[in-house]
Symmetry: C2
């Protein structure tokens, strides 16, 4: 099998290079044809416990902090792990890029450096959420605040391509998030986006209401970046709030306390279902190369799965001659 | 104490007039000064088990079905329980209106008949959601799809008034739902709405992200009707999906099954927290009178609490000379 190179930002995560290096080693074991190239402080990377001599390292002297202005940081810090990694991909040395660093800098940098896919006006950030039966890709999750109808239709297109390639879903079902299922429902933007999606070659199943997003009946749920970002963060808050309410109720009587103890394994499994590490990271789609934004607190498993997303996407791309 | 008259649609709910009449009787017991006036098919209403002779009934020959076009139905069915009840309020015979009928017809009818509060461009539908420490009013939940910044600022105003009056919260904390806490974040509309809210006399706490909505740190969460409706229905779907995942995991082993049995009471309490019946209905705010949209499947308790919302709101309105 041909070698496949993926560029990896070793510096961005909260857990530092150790977790990223370990994740890269895990990914290399899973995909022997993979060549991970790590960007970051070379000495620090080489000193991590998991480091193996067959890993490539390219020294990047600086890091873009999440607190920095993305555009400014991207222009000034040419020697940062994000900018150097993205340039490496741009120059054709790697197929994709994984970073758990500043989301803003990553999106800005990737959009400027990697170039948009033909026919795509705006790249978008997706998030894979667990449903009762599998996964749904919610997008845009925050890259585009004010969207034209054509952007939404294109999110459907690049989202479906991703779910087909990485999640192996044939003919992904694309739904447009809306306030009702009828064609005439919604705001000015969704009404026109509906027509565009209906006229497209996608497997468009129509408008979907909020309650349908996690039903398992949809593979790609399309919305503007404002709605998607609010929804995504609401999910976090709601899950946390529900879990703490459950805990509070379970601890409120001795009998239910015993019950909670016996049901501990079940709750652990539940938590695993919501574990972002199983998926990897959020794909930034619509560019000429795949960029994965890994969670800031990604551990080795999460990084491994983020790299895995890039590998599978790139492989399928080659197979299909894309 | 002076009498307080509330008009009630006896026909709209899924459970028929029996539940509504029982709810009205319960409300009358709780508030002896209350005069409920029931609108609907007189004979049917008088034949319900809970009916007491001191309840007023005004015969309305027809019902607006949820499947009908709101505007058309409102124009044509002058003898429907919704139109007759709203007219009764308009003519000054009652302080508020409660209905579990067609949301569209209720919003359209109320907007046309009751008139907007001074300074309010668009009335909005609120929903009271449980948080870890109390309640938050989410609005707009679907009355206004495309919002001007000024609408959002006004939603904050009428929402704060409601939480102060009905939920007895002093100086309610108003938050603007957004994708980040910084002032410059968001879409074109929220950016301008931020400035308006900041300049208002409200207790505006700034932008809030999705995860903050249910945190208990906010009393009124402001957004456009598209975002609010998607969020609200997403809550439903997510809670259902989480509960079914919990059930599935609990049933997956004999030990956790026993645990689930012992924790049954705790789960029952949890369900109660999410029980919309405890709150009553969704307030339609910004009009000269309060209109409560009760859930379609409202039982007697839900109707009683919907009437209770109207009673308290009207009482506080009188106290403050509003």
């Amino acid at each position: 099998m041909e070698k496949l190179t993926i560029a990896i930002d070793a510096m961005g995560g909260d857990l530092g290079p150790a977790a990223v290096v370990e994740g890269a080693v895990m990914a290399k074991k899973a995909f022997p044809f993979l060549e991970p190239v790590l960007f970051g402080h070379e000495e620090t990377i080489r000193e991590t416990a998991a480091f193996t001599p067959d890993l490539q390292v390219i020294h990047a002297a600086t890091i873009i902090e999440p607190s920095e202005s993305p555009t400014l940081a991207f222009r000034k810090k040419k020697d940062s792990s994000i900018v150097m990694g993205l340039k490496y991909v741009k120059e054709g040395n790697a197929s994709g890029f994984v970073s758990s660093g500043s989301t803003g800098a990553l999106l800005t940098g990737a959009t400027i450096l990697l170039g948009r896919k033909q026919g795509i006006e705006r790249p978008a950030l997706g998030t894979v959420l667990p449903t009762q039966t599998g996964y749904v890709l919610l997008m845009d999750c925050g890259a585009n605040m004010d969207c034209k109808p054509s952007y939404l239709a294109q999110f459907g297109e690049i989202g479906a391509e991703y779910m087909q390639k990485v999640m192996d879903i044939k003919n992904p079902r694309v739904g447009l998030i809306n306030v009702g299922t009828e064609e005439e429902k919604g705001n000015v933007t969704t009404k026109e986006a509906f027509s565009l999606l209906k006229a497209s070659s996608l497997n468009f199943v129509g408008n979907i209401e909020g309650r349908e997003i996690l039903s398992g009946n949809i593979d790609v749920a399309v919305c503007d970046g404002f709605t998607g970002n609010v929804l995504l963060k609401f999910t976090e808050g709601f899950a946390k709030s529900m879990m703490s309410m459950i805990k509070e109720e379970l601890m409120s009587s001795p009998v239910s306390k015993v019950g909670a103890l016996l049901a501990k394994g079940a709750f652990k499994n539940l938590k695993k279902r919501f574990d972002y590490r199983e998926v990897g990271g959020a794909p930034f789609l619509g560019l000429n190369h795949l960029v994965i934004k890994a969670h800031g607190s990604s551990d080795a498993l999460a990084i491994k799965n983020a790299i895995r997303q890039c590998v599978i996407y790139s492989q399928k791309g080659n197979e299909n001659g894309i």
